[in-house]
Structure formats: C-alpha cells, structure tokens
Symmetry: D2
Subunit: 370 residues, 4 copies
C-alpha cells in the first residue's frame, strides 16, 4: 500500500534512514534488458548529499548492489532487488525529536498514524528513503532509453525569488545541468541561486525552489484514462517526493489566465507526423501523451529542519524553544533533480508497459497517426 | 487500470458521453451506512450543465439509481452500483472530429492510443465521464460525514485574471458557495468573474480558472507513506479531472519563495490537542494529515472547445480552419466545484479505511497524541 | 477488493439476487475487438436456471445490455459496462433466514462479517451473483478466440458417485456437451447422472459433482511466477465459484501417488514445436503454460439448500427444525459448466495481456521455442 | 505482478537460487508488533534442506536479516525488508539444462515466456524462491498469533500410497509434527512414509504426497466475497507453491459424492457462540470463515528432477537421454510443511487486515453473533 508504485512496472521501496539499508524491488521489468550496477550508480551519485558546499556535508557512499533478477548482464524478467547499505548514521543528532515534534516535519504525523516513530531521524519521511526510488528509477530509465529513446532531463528553475529564464526544454541535457553545483543550466541565474542558498545557510535558515523537467521522445498514446492519466500519475509521483507542495504541467497555473483561443495548441505537420505549434498542453492531452515533450514543474518548500531557534510546543503541549542540531540542507532542490527524473521514469515505464495491451501479438507495430 | 481508483474504498467508473449510460461501482464501502439516492442526487445536480447562463444550456436530467449494495436504506458491504442513463445525446454536433483532431482536445491522443475513437464526442475524455465519479464521491462523502464529521467545501477562487480574496477556509460552506452562479463565495469577485465569463462567451472564446478546496475535521494520521501520501493521492485525483493542469497544497508554488523560518508551522495547543499556528503545510506533513484543515488549489485551463475559428491540420496533415459548433462551456470551473469535492472525498475515504489496519481489533480507539 | 478480479484485464462485478440488477464492468479490454450483445448472450443462456427439469424452474430472462465501451460493434478500449436486470425475485421464499442461519449457507458468515445481511436470499453469496461474471467472461472469451484461437470447453465429469470416463479433452466441444441436459458428453454416464439427480430431488435432497475443463491452443508463456502462476490463478478463480470445495490441475491428487519417472512429461517434437508426450502437468509447468492443453477439475459440494427438514439452531442458539421452501437446484454442476469456462477465460485473458509486457514495441512476434 | 501477494498485508519476494540472495519486503504490517529475527528463523530452519536423510544434503545456513521496518524490537508500520544471503550455489550441477529442457520442470516455459532463463538452476521456479515467502510468512504468523491467537499447523498426511489416518486437527501441534523426520504426527504412517521415500531415492526416483493444514481460532468474518473468498485465496496461495497440483478444503473432492442432507453442517451452540456439529465446510461458508477450524489439503506431485535416465528431446527437437546430476529431494512434502503454513498465514493476515474496514473507529468490537 504505502510503499508500492506502479501497475505493470511495479516498484516496492524499503528502508529507514538509520536502519541497516535502503533499497527497492522492481517487479515487472521485461527480460533481456542489458543492466548492471553501472547503469544505476550515476543517478545515485547525483542524489547523494555532500557533493558540494550547497548541500549537507554528510558522507554517504551509497553503492548499489543488484541482488537478483539480472544474470550475465541481462534482466531475467524476475524481480530486481536493489540494496544500498546505510553508513554514517549518527542517530544522536536527532535525539530531541523524541519529546518535541519538529515543526513542519513528519514527527507528529507519524506518531499520530502509527503510535510510534523511529527513535532517530524521520524514518520513511527522511530524504534517505529516496535512495531506493532512485535505484529503481535508473532501471526504468534504462528501459525507456533502450526501447524508446526517451530522454528525461530535470533542472533547478527557481530558488527562492531567483528564477532561471531561457532554458530550452527542446535541447537541455544533463551535462549542461551538471555544470553548476545548483543544477541550473542558466549561468547567471545559477550564480544568484547559489548566493541565495549561501545566505539562507548563513542565517541558519532554508529556502525553497522549483524544478522543471522535460521528457522527450515520449510516443503518442501513453497514459490511461481516467484515473491513471499520464498527468495524474506524474502529479502523484512528484507529490510523493518529500517537501513537494505543488505540480503543474504545460501552462499550469499561469494557463488559467489565458483564453482558449490562445491556449489551444494548433496541430501542424512535423516530420511526417502530427505535432503541435505551441505546447501549452505540456505533451499531454486528455491524459495521454501526444508526442510533444512532456513538460512540468515541481514546487519544493524550504526544508523544515533549520538551525535557527523555533518557538513551538512539545508532545505534552508545553512551550519550548527548539534548536535542531546536525547536518541539514539549506535547500533541497539541487539534490532533488535526479529524484524528479526518477519519478518521471517510473511513471513513464509503467504506462509504456500498460500500453502494450492495446496491440495484438501478431500485429505489426501501430501505424503512426497521420 | 484506467478507470479504477482507490485501494480500500475502490471505485470503477464507466460510460461514454454518447453511450447508454454512465456510472460507477463502489467496492469496499463498509456495511450499515445509511444511504439512498437522495444522498447522491444533490452533488449530481450541482455538476449538471444547464444550471445557469454561465454553463452550456444542454439539459441532462441525470437521475441516479442505486442498482445494488443497499437494502432498506443501509449499505450491505457489497458493491454499490450506480447508474445514470444518458439522454439528449445529439451526436451529430461533433461530426467533424472524425477527420480533424480538435486542438488541445483528446481526439488525437485517443486515436494514437487505441487506434479508434468514439465516433461522436470525446468518449471518456468528455466531462460527462465525471458523472460516475460524482455519484461515487457522494457515497464517500456520506461515509466521511457520518463516521468522521469530515466537511469538504470547494469554491471558485479565480476566473482568468479575476481572483477572490478573503474567503475563510475555516468556515466557508456550500450554502455560501451556491449563492453565486459562478460558485465564488466572495461577492465582488463573483460579479467580476461572471463578467469575465460572459465576455469570453461573447467572443466565442473560453477562459480558465482556479478552484480552492478545504477538508475540515480530517483526523491526524490519514495518508500512507511513501507513494500514497495524502498530498500525492490528492494530486493524482485532481489531475485526473478533465482540463486540470496544476495542483498545489498549502503554500504551494508561493511557498517556494519563503524561508523555512517563516514557512514552518509551529505547534500550539488547541482544544487539548496539538495544532499548528500557521497552515503552510495545508494540513499534511510527511504525506500524513496533521489534524489541521487540508487546503489545496486546482488549476483548470480554458476549455479547448471554442466557437472561434482555429487554424489547424486534419489527420492527413492538410491545413483546415476549424469552427466547432454545439454546446460548450466558456468556463468549466463553476461546474467543476462538486467534482473537486468528489475527488477529495474519494481520496479521504480510501485513506480513512486504509488507516484501520493500524489498530488491533480489541484495542480502544487510539489515544490522541498529547 | 472483494469484487474485482484481474490485473490487466480487470473485472468488477456487482449485484444481489434480489436487487435491481446484476452485472460487471470490464476494464482493460483492448480496443478494436468486434463485440456485441450477441457474443455475450449464449453463455448467459447456458447459465440461466429453468432450462431443464434438472434445474430450478425459476424463470430468469437474463438479457444482457452493453452500456458503454462499445460503438459500432467495436470495443473502444474504455470500460465495458454490462447489465442484466433482475426479474421474478420472490423474496418471501427466504423469509425464515432472518432468524435461522441456513446450515452450510452464507447467512451466518455474512452476518458475522458485515453485521447485516440481505433480508432476502443470499446476497452476493447467491448463484445469481455469477451472472455478471459470465457476461464479463464472454468478453474475455471473445478476445481469446479472436486474437489467439483459444478454445475453452467444460463438462460434467461426475455427479455423486457417477463418473464419466473416456471424454477426449483433445476434441470435446460445446455442441457435444449441450446434447445432454446434464452437460456430460459421455452418453451412458449422462443418463446415470440424470437418474442420480432425479433421485436426490425426489428425496428433497441434493447431490455434488465434478466439472472438468480444457483450454486448448493456449500458447506457451502465459502465467506469472510466483504468486500469479496460471495454475494458482485458476485455483483462485475456481474456488471463487459458489459451492466449490476443490481444484486440481493435470494429475492432481492422483498424481501424488505416482513416481516422478512415470509422472514426468517427456518432451517430443510436435508440428515443429516442442510438446510433451503425456500431460500430467495439465499444460502448466512452473506456473507457466507450455503449449499443451490446460486441463483441470473442479469439485462442487451438494447444494446447501435442501427441502428436507434439518435440525439446527437459530441465531439465539435455540433448537429449530428448518425446512426451506422455494426453488432450488438439486445439483448445480450442469448450470456451473459455463461459469467454470467463464472463470478460465477471465484468468487466461488477464495473463495473456500481462504477457504483452515481455516484448519490445518494435520487435517481431516471439520466435516459437525450437 | 508476478511476485507480489496480498492487498492489505502485501508481500513482495525476490531472488534466484543462484543469485546474491533471496528475500521479501512486507508492506502493510501494523506498527507496534514485537518482532525480531528470532521470530523468523525457526520456520526458515524447518524449510531448509539437509535436515535429515530424507531431504537433499545441500547445506544452506539461511540466516535471515531484518533490514528495515523494525526498531527496538517493534515494527514501525513501514516496509519490513528481509534478506537471506545465498551460499553454496554450485551452479555447475545444472549445466545441461542450457540445451535440454528438463521434463516437467520450468526450463522450457521460462524460455518461452522470457526468451531467456537463468543459466543455472531454475531461477524463480526453484524451491529456493520460497525462502522469502517463509520469512514474510513468519511475520504474518506473529501478527496472527499476537493479535488473534490464531494457530496454524500443517503435516504430511500422505506420501505416495501411504496415508496417515487419525490425526486430530483439533489438537495436533508442531511439536508432534516435528517428532518424525517426515513430519507426519501419526507414528506408523510416518515409518511407512520414510520407507517409501527411501525406496524412491534408492531407485533414483521421486514420490509425491499430500499436506494437510489446520488454522484454529480464526474468528468468523474473514474472507472477502466474491473473488477474494478465504477459500479462493488459500487455493491461489497453495497452487503458487512449486510442485502443487491440487487443493481441497473441508470435504473437497470426496464431498462431491455426498448428499446435501449429510454434507450440511448443522449449527449448534458452542461456548456461547454458534458453531457447527460437523465441519464439511472446512471452516469456510460463502467464502467467509465461520469460526470453526479452517482445514484443507494440498497435493504435491513427485519432484521432476530425478537421477534416473529420461528419454526426451533438446530445444532443437533432437532425441536425448537426460540424467540429471546434483542434489535433489526424492520427496518435497516434509520440507514443504512450513511453506504451506507460511502461505496460510499470508492469506489470513491479509484478510484479517481487510476486515478492519468494517468497523467504525469509535465503535466497540463487534458483538459475537448470538
């Protein structure tokens, strides 16, 4: 229930931040896909904290092992179990949370839900939980790339009040994103974002941001009406990432202020197939991909864990002043870039496999519409 | 896959806009809940087009019948089948869509997905598909109200550039919302919204908008980490509504510009339980409800179907000028208000039942944290 | 939960025996399959009571309507809703069950589960519940026949102590089965079975029996290890039929007494593919079809509802003598033949669609092993 | 899909016999259940081969580790990941299977399904796959025992032609079962079974058998009509075990020969609740538990892997004589006893949690019927 995602490409994740390990089991990946740890490690490395001064100095080596489902470099069609052992836990940093629920963190709600919560750290609400997702997402990405040439690229498009303009979703790639430690491919904005993050850190504070993501070469026809629309599944996937408070696809909230005559994406002929002139739809119409780039934005709140003192109450309702010690990111969006790509990959791989049902075994590949 | 929603409270919807009927089957509703058609009809009536000059004049009577699962006014615990017969179909209005895919509509993507599409109207991409959801959602709402006193109220908070300010989510009710045909409880904004819609209609155009929704009395503890977070399921639910392009909860996109020290919701003692001073979290922390009002916003694009001529191409790629005739809403948000409430109810009822697993049969109700 | 079956080809059934109607929604049926009511009615007619002296004289017309998902004789890929209106309910026949739980019926367990039960008849435990399944199963059969040439034939192989021998699963067809009112294609056995049923009826009693079913032309490769083995899903499907107490595939219980050297099915070359010399496996090895006929047997207990007086106790524990009036089958196996075929079709259609995931979109159909 | 079981208590298993490890993730186990590796190891030890001369001498230490979901000896409500590292693989023993599909094994069907199969051993079709289930099943058993006092006991009731009579399902316990290496609590039958197994081994052959299982103290009300009947889920669970070809509950196949007047289980008053005089129903009526012991039997075919030479063909259709070397069980039923108990526990734990939905949060525990 709580930790399973997908119908045809199904991922189960597990692991607390301070237990023995975190990981995932991928059930439903087709057989004969070339796969090794080397396919998975790069995104895990990008997710890892301690990569730059902008993120927490905590050192996690995060080496992933494939425990099952792969032999001689090929998937077997059976469940692929992925494990990353935990190191460097330092549980003592979070000791106070036993009696004082940290504001805007999950301490209180986990306690309310389960009648118990992990003695140290945030349990499944911790960012470390995303390790298993990222490992599984790399499997999904391999499938999408090898079988469908799908490309997924996410980048930081806003930090606090600083926004990046002019990034071209048609050609931006991960190399361009990696050039800046803040993972914004627009140089000037990147510099200002770094400044904003440093300022927040300097003040013992944190700052939010926005990640934009594009998925190119998604063929027309992916996404299941009604409840499993591509856009709906992406929304669920993104809101499942810790600290996310918003999602918009295509024109999003700004599109609500447009007239239909402006917003509609007229069809045009592109390379012998139908495409659209504009892309206010964000590549999705009626919940189904239309062959244009799938384009969406994800809003991250400022991290709840800050060094500054906060007035709050403990579980007994007594006023306290909380000053959380330990290692904390002043801004999560740079590290969240591969997580957004991961969740997009999990959604697309699942819907790609679901779409297989529409074709007879003995039928030729579907004619392109046109 | 495509038309089933929920894990414990599971809804299957069916029906095309121009077939024999639309409806839903609710599987998992507990037994002994008082229920009759009279509980379902009001939301269906609110959803129905033709209620005011602001919406399409199409007349649909939309009387719902309970076919199963209820006897002597009580649910039996068995599947509740709900049926609304279609009337007044007029399929001829949509004839041209056979050769020309309407821009930003689902004609093209359904064709790409299925290799076929309903000869008339948009099939499952039509707004009529939502009838089944609304009927099922009314069952969910009855359960939430009777067993948990949950109140769900949605209203139009923006139409085009017009925004409503000052609506109090703590006390706004459906009666206040119903006072205006545009379903905005803030009088001056409502008047301007109506004007904006009339203008768009007068120009053969359409306009988008935003719906805000609050769910009060949701107890702390609902929502399943990791992928079935309350916020993630709400996001999926809202993006599954036709024409929705965005979702934000609590501070949402605006929250990305705040510092953590401002954004964090300090705990305070409220009526002998822990509450929060502010509600930037929108009632959800770590994906689990915290007892504060669940508050979110949903962005609707301007309807794709407009009377104005549009330059586009047909399936063969030939340039055409399209002028869609028929009955169309210049703005969907007033009618979408009960649909947003419906989807919120379906999510909450499902997560409420999922939460039952946490308690031993012979155990007393969980002590409130504090 | 309770009334949904399948993962890729998903069926939701609904309806009590004495409510407004019974039916099903099929979600996941591929588009462009030719389908009409005429494809569904024959199996419903075979399931209907009152067809011969051997079954209850109750008259149910059971005309099925397709409410959605089909247009111009082709499936749209959207949910197919199927409805059969209830007639001739006569609820008064079952009045006594309000205070006395009928032995070996579901009255007591429904009460324990739901704290309520349908005031008349057995609710979802009634044989009438199977109407929705049979309608949905006919859709599955159409898909299997049109796309894969799969043939499913079930017949009565035992009634009480009478067993049919010598029926050839390689060629028996439904016409042969229909020739006898007891649905046993072996003439002498059929005559004795009829006698056994008449005897039981004459004594106000009932008698059990066994149905054997063969599925021919199932290609090798269907069935999902581990928990969704073809054999496991068939077992679930068959045990979900009212009155079923046993399932065996291939050699079944008798195979437990064989040595491995006798039981093993040696491979041989058959029509340019690998086949097996014997078929103790019943067409399934490791949970996956091997291309040989899938062959299994289903045990039905004698119907619980009998005219003879029974000593039992009421809900209050007081001794009573129960004599159930009304219309009852002395033996359910003849009518259950199409239900067994239905459930086999639902399992096979689901696993057939699940198997699609294993092939790349642009790949040729899989080479036959050999 | 293939490796996930359960709805509310959901288990995902993974691992090939010759990969890095085997295990499971349990999602949905309630919080605050006392749990440690010591609760899991006993059933894994019983499942392990090499315990007696009757089973393969292969030595697997099979120490289980809990990777997540448990802290300070209590479950957290989050996924419980369980891992057993593989040792002593000896892949070379199975080398020939690359070119010759072993008769009645899964080599051929895995190849047909996936276009690939594990180079050594049977991959997920191997008995080693059951390690993950047994570990997960022990969690389920802990939950059932602690919260509901449910007792599950299985034993070998037949090996080849030898049958055990007179075992009392009302009181047989695991200690009695463990007294004999063949896990038959009836002494004389046990001795004959051992002889039958030794004979088969001496002849390079194998032999089948039957396991009977009883689940005591299952409260009335578990099991979901229609498709998730307790009996249907048990049937699926048992047929999902390697080598199982049959399942029967209560009177099973023998019950088909009884008259209804004999077969019906009359109600009687037992300890202030309703019980039944006989138990032909096997504790399940209408798919729902009735409070009596749940009693069923599972048929295992003779193991396919035998030392004797077998005439068969290779993948190219050429005649070969196959003589499989390596370590093989002449009879699987003694080792399968804890696996049957495991699968019963997984079904019961899942249906127990599903049943929680029927009760209001603020309601007292349901009154016992009577």
């Amino acid at each position: 229930m709580s930790s399973i995602f997908g119908v045809c490409f199904r991922v189960t994740t597990f692991g607390e931040s301070h237990g023995h390990g975190v990981g995932a089991v991928v059930d439903g990946c087709p057989a004969r896909l070339p796969l090794s740890e080397a396919d998975l490690q790069p995104q895990l490395d990008r997710r890892r904290p301690g990569q730059s001064l902008l993120t927490t100095p905590r050192q996690e080596s995060d080496r992933v092992s494939i425990l099952s489902g792969v032999e001689n470099g090929l998937t077997l069609g059976t469940p692929i179990a992925l494990l990353v052992t935990n190191r460097d836990p330092r549980p003592e940093d979070y000791g106070e949370s036993a009696s004082v629920p940290r504001p805007s963190h999950a301490d209180y709600t986990y306690q309310a839900k389960y009648g118990i919560h992990a003695s140290s750290g945030g349990g499944r609400a911790s960012a470390r939980e995303t390790v298993g997702r990222v490992a599984a997402g790399a499997v999904a990405e391999k499938l999408l790339r090898d079988w469908h040439a799908v490309e997924i690229v996410a980048w930081v498009s806003a930090v606090g009040h600083v926004q990046a303009h002019g990034v071209d979703p048609g050609c931006v790639d991960r190399a361009a994103v990696e050039r800046s430690p803040v993972r914004c491919p627009q140089g000037e904005a990147a510099a200002e974002m770094i400044k904003a993050i440093e300022e927040a850190r300097g003040e013992g504070d944190s700052v939010g941001g926005i990640i934009t993501c594009v998925c190119r070469n998604v063929p027309a026809g992916w996404g299941e009406p009604v409840f499993d629309k591509l856009s709906a599944r992406l929304a669920q996937a993104m809101l499942s990432i810790p600290a996310v408070k918003g999602f918009e696809i295509g024109s999003g909230f700004a599109g609500t202020r447009l007239r239909g005559s402006v917003h509609n994406d007229a069809f045009v002929l592109k390379n012998n197939r139908l495409g659209t002139q504009s892309n206010h739809s964000g590549g999705v119409q009626g919940g189904i991909s239309n062959g244009e780039p799938v384009l969406f934005r994800v809003a991250f709140k400022p991290p709840a864990t800050i060094a500054r003192e906060q007035k709050t109450v403990d579980y007994a309702g007594r006023s306290v002043v909380l000053a959380v010690k330990g290692r904390h990111d002043p801004c999560v969006v740079p590290r969240a870039v591969p997580i957004v790509e991961t969740m997009a990959a999990l959604v697309l791989a699942d819907l790609a496999l679901c779409q297989r049902r529409q074709r007879r075994e003995d039928e030729a590949p579907p004619a392109k519409p046109v």
